[in-house]
Symmetry: C2
DNA sequence: TATGGATCCATA
DNA sequence: TATGGATCCATA
């Protein structure tokens, strides 16, 4: 997978300049670049078919799988907790709960790295509706505002990849008008970045990425 | 329709204390209270049937219609523009475009009041997915941040009304963890409020609010 | 093409 | 019940 652009919205304070963050960022970007289609090819080739119509084009669910599993090596927060493993310092963990919000638990992060000292680096890979990307960004901004995360990274498709995926998926173009708002987030320190992804190649003979409704009786 | 709660997130500067704002707010709340079901009854009676399952419960689209038409008296921005009417000062107008964002036009407001001096009071009635409420809030925060709107009001269902409507509709409970973030919006002046709505009564014999064919609905 | 929305899904 | 999706719709 290509990364045509990285938008750095916030980068402030000692952690943003630390060797640890540089290492984690490099690791994370390498895992994003390792996303592939079809599986096992080492590159991301998309079938150029519009995703807007029912049952056509490419679904989005499998796209992030390899990145998350490369980073976390299969460590999932919930499963580890069942086995009594609750100290994740120094590792990436999938499905890590959010440390913000008291009255309502705000769901899980796609992946998180728990720092040795204190704080969390959070990865959100957006494959939902564009409006869902706003919730992801807000969640990371809230974490930075409250000081409960040290860095937040959102991964979203480029406008070139967007038309081939399920209609109205999160994409960088529609987030741009809001950059100014997120840059102005009231936080003492931290990092907030949006990583843009794009297919390596287009091939009419590439298999479609299945949509979540395949094999299910929707008719 | 009942208004069990109004959450005032921002209220700052001269406009927030002006007689004009007090008048507009009263007008707006009266129009919200005038929402009704079934049409013509003067009260909002909901059929207590879960909206989560396919084809069951109540859709959301018609709920805001009466409020918007009472406020705007049928004035729609697009239609008036066609007839050469572009000065809306001193009136409420439906489907008013957003004055924020240059590279991408960020859609329309449900209703807006154009002030005599400068600035706009914006009403967003959220009947979309909860994630869509985040986009609405971000849009209003961006408008306040840039000074292009004077007030933003979001209308969302209470948690008591929520279960009877289409699954995952915007609701006040899921927005609460983010109040702290929106309160901290960097803006010089303005008003930001969330108006919570709830049915007046429940009746097993009330007609269902019809659902449309969006999303994963069939036919 | 572009944008806000509306509707169900998967899983804990 | 609760939460983050995933998918398709309506309209300009």
């Amino acid at each position: 997978m290509k990364i045509p652009h990285i938008e750095t919205l916030i980068s402030r304070g000692p952690f943003s300049e630390s060797a640890e963050w540089k290492r984690l960022r490099t690791e994370l970007l390498a895992a994003v670049r390792a996303a592939e289609w079809p599986p096992g090819t080492g590159t991301f080739t998309i079938r150029p078919e519009s995703g807007k119509k029912r049952g056509e084009g490419n679904g989005v669910k499998p796209i992030k799988d390899r990145t998350v599993s490369l980073l976390t090596a299969g460590r999932k927060y919930g499963e580890m907790k069942k086995r009594g493993l609750t100290d994740h310092r120094g590792t990436w963990v999938a499905e890590h709960p959010w440390p913000v919000g008291e009255r309502i638990k705000p769901g899980n992060m796609d992946a998180a790295y728990v720092l040795q000292d204190a704080g969390i680096v959070c990865l959100e890979w957006e494959t939902g509706n564009i409006s869902s990307s706003h919730r992801s960004m807000n969640k990371m901004c809230l974490g930075l505002h409250k000081g409960s995360i040290k860095a937040g990274i959102l991964v979203v498709p480029s406008r070139a990849l967007y038309p081939f995926l399920t209609d109205r998926i999160g994409n960088i173009a529609e987030l741009e008008p809001y950059f100014e708002l997120w840059r102005s987030t009231d936080c003492a320190e931290g990092v907030l970045e949006i990583v843009v992804i794009e297919h390596d190649a287009v091939d009419l003979k590439a298999p479609r990425i299945p949509k979540g409704t395949d094999g299910r009786a929707l008719t």
